[in-house]
């Protein structure tokens, strides 16, 4: 019989999170971020966090909310533009920042979940990203050794999830969520729609429930758009 991962709300989901922990948070920009969990982290007031997330949100949304409250000691990301408070904290030295190539970040999370402690990649060779890292040539091309990333807690946001923790993401809101789900010692999934067992097609699951320890029905999704770009009806009729 399937293992139930359902907890009653975001409060129950976030039990056990402490100061100084390492957290992973899914999302790309503001797309597919665990909005409810971030709000709860602000409410809990946990501090000295190391946050692994591709981006750092904007000033008043996403991880920007934790930055405003000075809850983050270190960010591990690939791109941190579009956030004035972030830039201020980083340039003043309040915030430690580790910038990682986006593909290496994704693969390092997957490796952390997949029991692969290290792998070689060409990304970053010859740049400051390679400093202190082993370099080895394969097929005549230099590669650097990158190590796995894991986290005490991983937070992911899915479109649909069932009681066994199986998750389906929507469109490009998938992004880093599946790998971070793999790499969390405890992975908390918030979903737009929590469905009973047997509803989701077993052939179309993006994250198997084995990676999810707690799941809850999220609410009040803002789903803010960072760069609203549209074309005009006329242009398309040409």
């Amino acid at each position: 019989m399937a293992i139930s991962k359902v907890v009653k709300d975001v409060g129950a989901a976030c039990a056990g999170i402490e100061d100084g922990m390492t957290l992973m948070l899914g999302g790309f920009g503001l797309c597919g971020i665990p909005e409810c969990s971030i709000a709860e982290l602000v409410r809990l007031g946990v501090k000295d966090l190391t946050c692994i997330s591709n981006n750092a949100g904007v000033d008043d949304f996403g991880l920007g909310l934790l930055l405003q409250e000075r809850q983050i000691r270190k960010m591990i990301s690939s791109y941190v533009g579009e956030n004035d408070e972030f830039e201020r904290q980083m340039l003043s030295g309040e915030l430690e920042v580790d910038l990682i190539p986006q593909g290496s970040l994704a693969e390092r999370c997957r490796a952390g979940g997949a029991g692969i402690p290290a792998f070689f990649t060409p990304a970053g060779y010859g740049t400051e990203v390679a400093e202190g890292k082993e370099v080895r040539e394969f097929n005549g091309k230099p590669h650097i050794l990158e190590t796995a990333l894991t986290a005490d807690f991983a937070f992911v946001k899915a479109w649909k999830g069932d009681t066994a923790g199986n998750l389906i993401f929507k469109a490009t809101a998938r992004n880093f969520n599946p790998m971070m789900a793999m790499a969390g010692k405890i992975t908390i999934a918030e979903v737009e729609e929590l469905v009973p067992l047997g509803i989701l097609d077993p052939n179309s699951i993006h994250t198997p429930g084995i990676y999810v320890q707690r799941i809850f029905q999220g609410s009040h999704y803002d789903k803010r758009i960072e760069q609203r770009t549209v074309r005009t009806q006329t242009a398309s009729n040409d």
Partner: protein
């Protein structure tokens, strides 16, 4: 002299049928607007889509459907969504035939810098380091000089590098150049631009053949 759309239009002519193409933020994004109707080309965006379509109509934006520049987009018939690890597997595994990206500096040995200005600006490299280290075919799209009028085509980059010896071709508002043997080789001039003007705006070694044709736009 070309404007940004002109640069994008000229780069579009480099694209062949059957190619998967990754377009970076800025000028590269504009390239998609100049692909001939019906040409079999698919755009990849590294946040997790293959078969990216044009921007949505007003009111049809979907917060869950964006490109790597965080812009709202649409998906073409036959599009696929995937996670970030799968996306960079495609890129790192050289399944994408062409990468077009912007740069702050390019060197005559093919180095590129586009992610950091020490002490001033640190936005991060995003997917650029993976793209430039992996792609076999990289075109840089940029203005020939910066706002201060200084050349962006240098003997060596002064800014922190994004990748080494990876750029093969540069398309600017003034010219197209190939990079090989430690020099920029002038291939085509933008309309109304002379080789002398390109030479004056290029700090790195520039090789000018006897005859340099003007760009043709079809």
């Amino acid at each position: 002299m070309l404007d940004k759309n002109g640069i994008a239009r000229r780069i579009a002519q480099e694209i062949r049928s059957g190619w998967y193409v990754n377009l970076g933020i800025g000028i590269p994004t504009l390239v998609a607007n100049f692909i001939p109707e019906g040409m079999e080309v698919e755009f990849q965006s590294e946040n997790g889509i293959l078969g990216m379509g044009p921007f949505p109509f007003d009111g049809e934006e979907d917060a869950d459907l964006i490109n790597a520049g965080k812009q709202t987009i649409t998906a073409m018939p036959g599009a696929v969504f995937f996670d970030s690890a799968a996306s960079f597997a495609m890129i790192r595994g050289q399944h994408v035939q062409l990468t077009v990206l912007g740069a702050m500096e390019v060197s005559a040995t093919g180095d590129i810098a586009n992610w950091k200005i020490p002490g001033k600006m640190v936005k991060g490299m995003g997917g650029a380091m993976d793209l430039v280290a992996s792609a076999e075919n990289i075109i840089v799209a940029m203005m020939h000089t910066n706002r201060a009028g200084e050349s962006k085509l240098l003997p060596a980059c002064s800014l922190p590098l994004t990748g080494v010896a990876c750029v093969r071709r540069v398309v600017t508002n003034l010219a197209i150049m190939d990079i090989r043997d430690g020099a920029f080789h002038l291939l085509e001039l933008a309309p109304g631009v002379t080789a002398e003007e390109v030479a004056a705006a290029t700090a790195g070694k520039l090789v000018i053949p006897d005859h340099v044709p003007e760009m043709q736009f079809n």
